[in-house]
Subunit: 422 residues, 2 copies
């Protein structure tokens, strides 16, 4: 029959196990970042290749595809490490479904590339296909953030996830702009899309800034002043202020691709900083928890064979809660029972504080979930595109002078009143 | 190297494992309910025994203590079933700490009983001591509700937890009234406490009613019309309208104890209904999930050795999301890849719907957490009792015409401005 101290130690071991899971995830996130980065490059190159009727970026594209293979193998290898047979991990159902989705997409990649090589379809389609696969990879990172049990780690994951999301939107911007310059035409639709992508990026980087550590943040702020950003803004202006016929100088496509790529490469380095920081954080937490377990185990050993704590449990200083009252101490080793009690109380306080903090950090994730759900609802029920759905929400928020997340909540509350999907 | 279907099946297995955990918890909750019921009885009997200077309920008390032993053994046995060495379960850290806390309290129970037998302290202290132990047992049920991953099960656990909580408050009311009648005196403090307990009970039963299934609810509504409730209200009036000197007829203590006990016994039966319903729900869910797994496994087998799905992944009907676009189907078994894709999409939709519903149900738990945290904060920082803290929150809510939970949130937001604890 297990004892109170036995369960106290078991609780600690659960914490450690959870942290070890997170450390593994941190490594996976790093690898996903590398693969996503290359898929973003491939998407951009494919766009110029297709938009230019195969006259540009043919061999750049092949070079990137080759680089992708190694990064893909790394991610697949790491997926293979999950012990899917034995101990199912917390949130495993959702994480594993996301992984299944990604693997299915990776399996389809060769066929996608063949079609692109054969110029069998348009840039927009290529962008959408790559974007969906990348979205699946980012969803794996989101699941990780959503199931993390440690507030500090969750905080780091929220920062990292939003940064990756922002970087992906920057990548979609590169692809969209590349297609426009590549074809020498930036139509109204492309311009709308670019404006949406620019704004959505900023939203992500705001959340990132709210959760990132000082050093990364400093580097991020510094990067915003770099020449490459000025150049980017100049080219953005060229695209967004194109004449009605949308004509833009096709010779700018290399400049556009290079400056977007330099920006993305910088982001990629910061992503590595964030991933490395996450890894170190997990390792530090694990070390702390192990030391705690050690200490508890020693104190528990000291109690072995000691008499039951008797009324010590009810002998604490009175709490205003009208909880346990003080009784006269019985002779039998109160300090022994006391020491278990101290551990129990310390543990309870710590776990309480952790779950309180966790709830706070989770707020950022929940807001995102609400906005995504509201967007999805509008897309399904009103047949809007993602951009349109987001614009509708944002516009409503402005008109009613409410926060975006409040409007999202209201939208979901009205779900039953919206007409069914087409 | 694991495949997409491999992870699809692994996700299902995770779901099943989670449900099996819940089924185990459902059984534990039933046992905890039985033990709590007897501890409540013991608390009430001890109160009359102490309040009457040992002249009443001496042997009733001993009989109840004897009954308790069996129920305690059952709970301890079930605690022992948790595999604390291997696969740490989701939320294990918090659950196991709660269990450690309870075991520590159960170990202290014999000493508590000796003191009561020796009439070594007052009824209020006995009530507080039993109440804290019972509170620890209920906290185990709350953890279970808080970590459940299935919305329907969470819903059932929220109903059950609030019912148990309300029953416990009814038990504290019995004890408080028993002490008053036993001593022939219902002072202002006892009256205040009674009023608080009555109101807090109603709050719990409201939440219960919001989540319970129709049959239990019908029985609950019927019970409210029973003669025993009328009798209870009459005796409540006697206590709460006692003259300034608080004199009440000591001979009413048996009547009070009996009618409270009949009410609690009725609740106990409903608790069993709820626990049984929870058990059946878990079993049904497990059966469904197993059938799903079976079906998926068969479909996956059918694909073994089949060619990779190729571009099928990118061949879905277009989504307004501007997500994957339709490509011309390649010759190679699209329907094969399609069938994996169907499973993936169905799974994703189901998990999404589940986590959306879960967030909704969780609301009830989160509100409770917020109110408890705000109460705790006021108790610590302002040295209030639980009753006073709750009254302050409720009064503020009334004055500002806001919901209790909103006031709790506001209080927590102001935490740093409140003076530190004494």
């Amino acid at each position: 029959m297990k004892s109170a101290p036995g369960f106290l130690l078991a609780a600690k071991r659960c914490e450690i196990h959870g942290l070890e899971q997170l450390a593994l995830t941190a490594e996976l996130v790093g690898r996903i970042g590398r693969l996503v980065h290359l898929l973003q490059k491939e998407r951009g190159a494919s766009n110029i290749y297709l938009a230019s009727g195969g006259t540009r970026f043919a061999e750049q594209r092949e070079r990137i595809v080759a680089e992708c293979a190694a990064a893909e193998a790394e991610v697949r290898e790491h997926f293979g490490r999950f012990d899917t047979e034995a101990a199912p991990l917390a949130g495993g159902a959702r994480l594993f479904s996301r992984i299944a989705w990604v693997l299915h997409g990776l399996d389809a990649l060769p066929a996608l590339r063949e079609r692109i090589a054969a110029r069998a379809f348009e840039p927009a389609r290529a962008t959408a296909a790559y974007s969906e696969l990348i979205g699946g990879l980012l969803a794996v990172v989101f699941e990780a953030a959503d199931t993390a049990g440690d507030p500090a780690v969750t905080r780091a994951l929220v920062a990292l996830f939003n940064f990756m999301q922002g970087k992906e939107l920057a990548g979609q911007e590169r692809a969209t702009g590349a297609a426009a310059f590549g074809s020498g035409r930036a139509g109204a639709e492309a311009q709308q899309r670019l404006l949406h992508l620019i704004e959505a990026q900023e939203r992500c980087f705001q959340v990132f800034a709210g959760f990132a550590e000082v050093p990364v943040l400093a580097r991020w702020r510094a990067a915003q002043g770099a020449a490459v950003v000025a150049e980017l803004e100049r080219l953005r202006r060229v695209l967004c202020t194109a004449p009605p016929d949308g004509a833009v100088d096709a010779d700018l496509s290399d400049a556009w691709f290079d400056c977007c790529t330099r920006r993305l490469d910088e982001m990629r380095e910061m992503e590595d900083m964030l991933a490395a920081g996450l890894q170190q954080l997990c390792e530090r937490k694990i070390a702390e928890a192990r030391a705690d377990l050690q200490d508890h185990a020693l104190r528990v050993d000291a109690l072995r064979g000691a008499p039951a704590p008797l009324a010590v449990f009810f002998e604490r200083t009175p709490e205003p809660a009208g909880g346990a009252q003080v009784l006269a101490a019985d002779g039998l080793g109160p300090q022994l029972g006391r020491s278990v009690l101290d551990m129990l109380q310390a543990q309870a306080r710590r776990l309480q504080a952790m779950s309180d903090e966790l709830n706070t950090v989770r707020g950022a994730l929940d807001e995102r979930k609400l906005i995504e759900r509201a967007k999805g609802l509008l897309m399904a029920r009103r047949g809007l595109t993602e951009d349109q759905a987001y614009k509708l929400l944002r516009q409503t928020a402005m008109n009613q002078n409410r926060r975006l997340v409040e409007v999202a909540e209201a939208t979901l509350a009205l779900a039953d009143f919206l007409p069914p999907g087409q």
